[in-house]
């Protein structure tokens, strides 16, 4: 705050000076609309700016390369990292060269009375060059990019995957596992009740063994996980930045994504030297007031640990027939209230956590 006030102060003062200057300009009667000294000054500034800008860019790269996401933790993510670096080299090159040339010309060819501009209106050869060269480069980019894209989106055989569902609602996630039969049963949005938050069709035999979890979900390393995505209310987006995975959750339809995790949570904690590291699932499509706090932790572990963890969870059939003293899923209304409250308190909680 103080910093802003100071900034404003300095600028206000500076501006007063400029206003003063301005008044004198208005009264002056210059021949030319733009004086030669102004032109020269601004031309020089172009080069100064260019250098400062590049320094700033490189400083940014240098300073913040570590704060970027760690190496991608999924098989496809690896391919994406490589593709990204490949494209970055190309566009980085174009960015530096073209900007450098632009600013260089702007500072070099400034107006001098004795000079005359070269009348150079067109050259088919040059224009061909800069149509064809970008076309070739783009062809390479397209082909490489689409190869990766086709790989990522190629259909998978559900039997070779772990079948999971991510269910989005304002402002929380629920994960569902296909259970013993590794099959997700049907749902119908009208069936939502306190006991049946995901609107599963009770009569569907595929549903009985499904398992619902909140807060965090686990997946085993090295196995293809296929996520089916649904939403209860508005569009959300299931984004797992560490796995370079994202797909929208759209009410009224089911979407899908899949990937193979390649580092366990523990491995990642070592790689990032951050003992608190956790994979996360977050919402990446504006969905309302607490959109910024719609999260779930993801634990990647060995298949053994994963099976052990999953075994402790109740099946859908079990929770449906649960006795009243069992912890029940809260009613929708209460949930709404809770999340509105979270909105207000999350700040404080987070601040405390940090301390």
């Amino acid at each position: 705050m103080i910093y802003i006030v100071i900034l404003i102060g300095i600028l206000a003062f500076w501006q007063l000076i400029k206003v003063y200057e301005y008044a004198t300009i208005i009264n002056g009667s210059e021949e030319e609309t733009v004086t030669e000294s102004d032109t020269r000054f601004n031309a020089k500034m172009m080069m100064v700016f260019c250098v400062a800008f590049f320094v700033f860019c490189i400083w940014n790269f240098w300073m913040y390369q570590d704060s970027l996401l760690p190496p991608s933790a999924s098989e496809y993510g690896k391919a994406l990292d490589t593709l990204f670096n490949f494209n970055m080299i190309i566009i980085g090159f174009v960015f530096f060269i073209v900007n450098a040339v632009l600013f260089y010309f702007a500072s070099k060819y400034y107006y001098r009375k004795e000079n005359k501009a070269t009348f150079f209106a067109h050259s088919s050869k040059l224009e061909m060059i800069w149509t064809i060269v970008p076309a070739i480069v783009l062809t390479v980019i397209i082909i490489y990019g689409l190869k990766v894209w086709n790989n990522i989106t190629a259909p998978v055989n559900p039997n070779e995957t772990i079948q999971m569902e991510l269910y989005a609602q304002q402002f929380a996630w629920t994960a569902r596992y296909g259970g013993k039969d590794n099959t997700l049963g049907k749902s119908n949005y009208r069936l939502i009740t306190d006991n049946n938050p995901l609107a599963l069709v009770v009569e569907d035999p595929n549903n009985g063994d499904d398992k619902l979890v909140k807060g965090e979900f686990h997946i085993p390393i090295g196995k293809m996980v296929q996520f089916k995505l649904r939403s209860r209310d508005v569009i959300h987006s299931a984004f797992m930045p560490h796995f370079s995975a994202q797909m929208n959750c759209v009410p009224g339809m089911e979407t899908e994504m899949h990937f193979v995790p390649i580092y366990t949570t523990i491995q990642m904690r070592e790689m990032t030297k951050n003992p608190k590291f956790n994979y996360i699932l977050l919402c990446n499509k504006i969905c309302g007031a607490a959109h910024y706090n719609m999260q779930m932790d993801i634990i990647v572990e060995s298949e053994e640990d994963y099976n052990k963890w999953l075994a402790t969870k109740k099946t859908f059939a079990e929770t449906m027939s649960a006795t009243p003293d069992e912890p029940k899923v809260e009613s929708v209304k209460e949930e709404m209230k809770k999340y509105t409250a979270i909105t207000a308190t999350v700040e404080e909680v987070k601040v405390e956590e940090k301390k």
């Binding site: 609309t33 733009v34 102004d38 700016f49 994202q246 996360i280 504006i286």
Partner: protein, 603 residues
């Protein structure tokens, strides 16, 4: 109606009707408020857009404060937003979303579409093609007044109980359709939809007029290959608008039905606030298709006029013909065509069929080719020129830089595979603010500095213009370059606060830097505002052709005449870019100067 007829009949020299209007001495109201004169309407658009722009800029400063110092109390927020939306000076999450929504809407539609095209198409099309006015002065006037009413409604929506629309400028349903989902989707969204519908009407009235004027009212000798690139850009922009805005209108209309009349175009299987809604069978994705069918052409509706203005200014101030005039026209047309078949790149991860995604990757990357051609042609125009650094020229050069810098990240995003982890992160925000936001606003500033003498008969201060440019340029890159890194760290856009995730803690420092630059940039605009309004009254009087330019607008008297030229309309003998032509004494030859004996027309 009268007028349309009027201007039409005197392409030649006789005065007919027009004389009457001169002698009638229009009163204050018809002269300054309900004027049918394109020059007055152009000023009205500009001033309205400046007002809206200031508003949207203030909003951006507000939400930048929240992003840099989340949860901290700022008295200024309490002052502007009140106790309801910023209790104790801390912005509420709902208000945060409302601010980003209205900021985006105003900037994209009111400033960079209405403001930019409205101002410069209006000012320059008749003057540069050598017409007495728009084809229909009356429709032109209506176009402004629809824009005005639409602005007023958008502005008014800021003051209602539940707050303005807050579902993002892209207003995706169901969020925008259900007040249960977010308070801004109540009356606020209704006003948004009404305002945008009127905006579409304004845009269509304007665009049809621009198209007809360019096609029908060109003066003698003004062939299409002698049109200044500004006019080409305005013409194509208008065509894009006519073809795409009706689609937005339909999208909006269907949304209104869903909201108010229980239809289910976009809604299906929704359970909200403890209740299962009746609607089934609709698709929220349909809305996205309709929206982006407008939305992508829209970004070029914003950008093309800025590029047109830049072409004109770079050539004039380099004292050199624009390089590759025909290639420039070709790329404008190619961009316009392609911009209709790339919209899917905003929807790669909506569950779109992957093959269809590939098609959109292909078309999207194709559009980079004509874009590259334009950038290289600008740079070649500077090469061996004799560059006069007016503030307009500085902004034009700045535009080329931001266009390149923002364009290259488009190549990353257009790669559907790479878009998976980047979609809806700050990387996208950085991309489009640089390539569209900065470039288009630079084009607009360039235009204002360059044609200010034509609009107001006075000059703006160069010195203040330089201060304005350099601070703005620094601020733009200071704000948007680091934003790429925030996006690459995985930070989603439209987050009220990044503190809910430990993962984002290390982007905090960058957010503070960005907000610092944003405040700096906002302050620089005060310099501009001062320069602009002060110069209207106190600026140095303009000379007839202050930039020694070739185009026809500088041959009309500085005093605004209804009908633009006294006596007959100028005749055109050459293209507009005869700068530093060999064999000429002066370094410019206006379009209305006949070819001298033995001279060949270039291009």
């Amino acid at each position: 109606m009268d007028h349309a007829h009027d201007t039409h009949t005197h392409e030649g020299h006789d005065h007919g009707h027009d004389v009457h209007t001169h002698h009638d001495e229009p009163g204050f109201w018809t002269k300054h408020i309900f004027s049918e004169d394109h020059k007055v309407i152009s000023r009205q658009f500009l001033i309205t857009a400046i007002f809206m722009g200031v508003l949207a800029m203030m909003m951006s400063v507000f939400f930048r404060l929240q992003l840099a110092w989340p949860g901290q109390s700022f008295p200024i927020l309490n002052y502007f937003l009140g106790d309801k939306w910023a209790p104790g000076g801390v912005m509420s999450p709902d208000m945060y979303l409302a601010l980003v929504t209205i900021h985006g809407t105003i900037m994209v539609f009111f400033v960079l579409t209405g403001g930019l095209s409205g101002t410069f198409s209006n000012l320059l099309i008749p003057l540069q093609v050598g017409a007495r006015d728009m084809a229909s002065g009356f429709l032109n006037m209506l176009s402004y007044w629809f824009f005005f009413i639409s602005s007023v409604i958008m502005f008014a929506s800021l003051f209602i109980e539940d707050g303005p629309a807050s579902a993002g400028w892209t207003i995706y349903p169901p969020l925008s359709a259900l007040p249960q989902a977010i308070p801004g989707s109540g009356l606020g969204m209704t006003l948004w939809l009404v305002s945008m519908s009127l905006f579409v009407v304004s845009s269509l009235l304007g665009s049809l007029n621009y198209i007809v004027t360019v096609i029908n009212l060109r003066t003698k000798g003004m062939t299409f290959t002698r049109l200044p690139l500004t006019v080409w850009a305005f013409l194509v922009t208008a065509i894009l608008g006519v073809l795409s805005f009706p689609v937005l209108f339909s999208a909006v209309l269907l949304l209104i039905f869903d909201r108010s009349f229980g239809t289910s175009f976009y809604l299906s299987d929704i359970f909200i606030s403890g209740q299962a809604l009746e609607q089934t069978g609709g698709s929220p994705i349909l809305f996205q298709h309709l929206f982006w069918f407008l939305g992508h052409p829209e970004v070029y509706i914003v950008l093309l006029p800025a590029l047109g203005i830049t072409s004109e200014i770079i050539a004039t101030m380099s004292r050199k013909p624009i390089f590759g005039y025909r290639a420039m026209i070709g790329s404008i047309l190619a961009i316009a065509f392609l911009s209709f078949i790339v919209w899917g790149h905003h929807m790669f991860i909506t569950g779109m069929n992957p093959f269809l995604g590939s098609v959109f990757v292909f078309t999207t990357l194709l559009i980079a080719i004509p874009s590259a051609v334009k950038a290289f042609n600008y740079i070649t125009t500077l090469w061996k020129g004799n560059l006069i650094m007016s503030p307009a020229m500085l902004f034009a050069i700045g535009l080329v830089s931001t266009f390149v810098t923002g364009g290259v990240t488009g190549i990353i995003l257009a790669d559907s595979a790479l878009d998976i982890p980047l979609h809806d992160t700050y990387f996208v925000v950085a991309h489009f603010h640089i390539v569209m936001g900065a470039s288009a606003i630079f084009g607009m500033f360039a235009g204002v500095y360059h044609w200010f003498p034509r609009m107001f008969g006075r000059m703006m201060s160069n010195k203040l213009g330089y201060v304005h440019f350099w601070i703005t340029f620094i601020a733009v890159y200071g704000v948007f370059f680091p934003m790429h890194f925030i996006g690459l760290s995985g930070v989603p856009r439209r987050y009220y606060s990044n503190e809910a995730f430990a993962l984002f803690d290390n982007t905090h420092e960058l957010n503070v830097i960005i907000t610092g630059f944003a405040v700096l940039g906002a302050i620089a605009q005060v310099v501009f505002l001062f320069n602009f309004f002060f110069s209207i009254y106190k600026g140095k009087r303009a000379t007839q052709n202050p930039w020694k330019s070739n185009t026809l607008e500088w041959t009309a008297p500085i005093e605004h005449l209804h009908g633009n030229w006294p006596g007959s309309l100028p005749e055109v003998y050459r293209w507009p870019y005869d700068y530093s032509k060999p064999g000429k004494d002066e370094d410019f030859v206006p379009q209305n100067v006949p070819l001298s004996a033995g001279e060949v027309e270039n291009h």
